[in-house]
Symmetry: C2
Subunit: 118 residues, 2 copies
């Protein structure tokens, strides 16, 4: 059980709760793919959600530090913050790394070949 007046949840805990929602993960995926996108560009991919829904998910992602926002005229540009995701996820993954030696090697090779956008 969680209480609002106690912030004992670890950063890792917060992260997994943020990632537990499929819409937010798709938003992260889109931002990882394109580097940065405006809210309306993001919203195009979620026809089932109204604007406030999009906005709320982006608030959650911002609060977790997984994305950052900057004004661009009257639009708002969202950018992914990959290091935040890495620094929260990779330490946790390290506990299971011994089981995954081969798979991690493949993953690392993927990382070398591809280049991030921008």
């Amino acid at each position: 059980m969680t209480w609002w007046w106690l912030t004992l949840a670890s950063a890792t805990d917060d992260l997994f709760r943020v990632l537990a929602d499929g819409t937010r993960r798709r938003m992260l995926d889109l931002l990882a793919e394109h580097g940065s996108l405006t809210v309306s560009q993001l919203a195009e991919h979620f026809p089932d959600l109204v604007a406030s829904g999009i906005s709320k998910h982006l608030m959650v992602l911002r609060a977790a530090g997984l994305v950052s926002a900057s004004r661009q005229g009257r639009r708002r540009l969202y950018r992914i913050e990959p290091e935040v995701l890495a620094s929260a996820l990779l330490p946790w993954l390290a506990k299971y790394a011994p089981y995954w030696a081969g798979a991690l090697e493949r993953l690392r090779r993927l990382a070398e070949e591809a280049e991030p956008p921008e």
Copy 2:
């Protein structure tokens, strides 16, 4: 919104929802560390939970395939299934791998040095 009569959630989605709970992640961590543990051995680490709570979390982990159980007399031995976690998590991680080249290299080196229990 999710409806019970529609099982459109992807395996990845299920996985993140399972991992969203800190208790379940600690259970996985303990099993990753020890290889396999009985329910009461696991329960020792969760003094705030009653037995049914422990059992429910283990049910969720079992349903996701992240752990497997076998009878050991009147005890029940839980074992981690690391490949299931890997096959669900690593494809998702691959999308972000380009951002994490260095960190993944460190992680892979960790995997090489350490050996899994049993």
